[in-house]
Symmetry: C2
Subunit: 115 residues, 2 copies
């Protein structure tokens, strides 16, 4: 269970994205960006209530708890909302790996790099 800041919770604007907001997931210890998923109001509420990251699957059209089948759960330390209220940041302790490919982070392929 997380301690909720009610004023900042009201800032979260689910309407803009048709009921969903993107969620950036960051490792609390390494600060690595692990993945991006989506949350509806219910997913955010379940996350706040349980302390485990929940999302909304756009393809399966349902709520999911990260790691429910794989065991790779995310214990959420902190949730932040951005300046215009349409994006969340979950800062987590990742159990196992974040990516379904087996990589630790979903961002493992470089498109461009400074020479």
């Amino acid at each position: 269970m997380l301690q909720v800041n009610e004023e900042n919770l009201r800032v979260v604007d689910f309407e803009k994205g048709g009921g969903l907001v993107p969620v950036v997931v960051q490792d609390a210890s390494t600060k690595e960006v692990l993945m991006v998923a989506y949350a509806n109001r219910e997913a955010l509420e379940k996350t706040l209530k349980t302390g485990f990251a929940h999302y909304y699957s756009r393809s399966r059209k349902k709520l999911w708890k990260k790691g429910e089948t794989s065991g790779n759960v995310q214990r959420v330390k902190k949730i932040l909302v951005d300046c215009d209220g349409d994006t969340l940041l979950y800062v987590v302790n990742q159990e196992g790996v974040a990516c379904h490919t087996g990589e630790y982070s979903c961002f493992f392929r470089t498109v461009g790099e400074e020479k």
Copy 2:
């Protein structure tokens, strides 16, 4: 100018999001998550070509170079694509601040926190 990995560039799937992908922006030195914006193919190409972060504004419906008016440009060190190709990560050196409110990061409000 960034060195491009052509194979990974082809992974980027703009179609899924109607021509746009979300871009997570991370500070290269502090690893702080600074903001989330959106890119179309042109914005990504301009970023790769110039080394400065470019995005597509959904409200103004046009390409923009971050910091063009404010001077708060982002020099891009690295661009990564996620496992399913529909999200980018720009790792940047931020000039000034990232947020239009004057905060360094757009994520400055806490919604929930571990007790």
